[in-house]
Symmetry: C2
Subunit: 209 residues, 2 copies
């Protein structure tokens, strides 16, 4: 009998699992390791959990299999795994931060970091309570806003979209992360792939194992 | 003898004065009204001080002279005053928030709000301590970033600049506010005008008085 194999992307707040078919998340806080008996190939941006898992025989850290020379120092390992998944694409990972990375011929050309939408809303509120907002994601970016909610929504969304349109000379635009669905209507030719990070992890494992 | 006349733009933290020649700022907190004997024409986004000044005979609130129908409800009065200063321009006010407004044939076409650079830096830090940054304003926006500081600087600056380039079909781009000098190198054809709000206030006063 073959034991099942899991992939896991450990973030600051959650463990994101992929069993080859489905993905699901479990809260990092209070996570009980004894609930997982399978072999788990993982990456982690979470220092605490990476340390905890060091001596667990069924948890295999993919960090050692990554060619970090292809990427810049201190680049998040989850961003790297997403980049490893593609040969030519602009990758947008819309989570607590929004990262945008360009890969061409399997080479990382660079990338940048923009606040996630929740962080952006908090940012406006911190500037002034008058700027507290729940963003309007149905906003029409072709029209200049004429009320405060739209002015803030446009300010949070449109500059990023203008930048992405400039960046997306590559054929494929792939969006991943929790806010992917919110971004998609603004980048009609983009594809959503919530399993991109796991695809990258699989490639890392296959390429080096 | 003619008594001197002052203009004052009251923000959340400072009183910004203009005496017709020079501008200077004074902290709002603990501001002593008895230090100003001149006639002062003012606008205020600061509810507390607007209330305090209600019964001061030498402080004249320009709010009553503004045609608010030309603008959207809840639009900051300082933004309105800047718009009143021009006939055709894209106005960028780079302060604690960065507002971008379009005026054509003396008509406000709309505008949007983006976080100021200090707020943006705090926003990144709030997402993760790993994203604490002092922005690199010498960054080359033509190259995709390859280190965390540049990735964050590019993410804060470049989307806004891409958006502004799209917006600036009008002939003139005017930058005002405390971070005007930081933005200027990225928008070479723009002009800086730190007295724009006072020019608008003067026009409001002349048009209605």
């Amino acid at each position: 009998m073959t034991q099942s194999r899991l992939f896991c992307d450990i973030g600051n707040t959650h463990f994101y699992f992929f069993d080859g078919q489905d993905s699901y998340k479990v809260k990092a806080e209070g996570f009980d390791l004894s609930t997982v008996q399978s072999e788990v190939y993982y990456i982690s941006v979470n220092d605490y959990w990476e340390k905890q898992l060091e001596d667990e025989v069924n948890w295999i850290n993919l960090r050692v299999m990554i060619d970090f020379d292809k990427y810049y120092e201190s680049m998040g390992i989850d961003r790297i795994a997403c980049c490893e998944a593609v040969e030519d694409a602009l990758i947008i990972d819309a989570g607590s931060a929004i990262t945008v990375d360009k890969v061409k011929d399997g080479k990382h050309l660079g990338g940048y970091i923009y606040p996630g939408f929740n962080a952006m809303a908090k940012c406006f509120k911190d500037i002034s309570p008058r700027l507290e907002v729940s963003f309007n994601f149905d906003i029409d970016l072709a029209t200049m806003p004429k009320n405060t909610r739209d002015a803030l929504s446009y300010g949070a969304i449109s500059p990023l979209i203008s930048q992405i349109r400039k960046d997306s000379d590559t054929k494929t635009v792939i969006i991943t992360g929790g806010d992917a669905e919110r971004l998609l209507p603004f980048i009609p030719r983009a594809l959503i792939d919530h399993e991109l990070v796991f695809k990258g992890m699989k490639k890392i494992l296959q390429g080096k194992a």
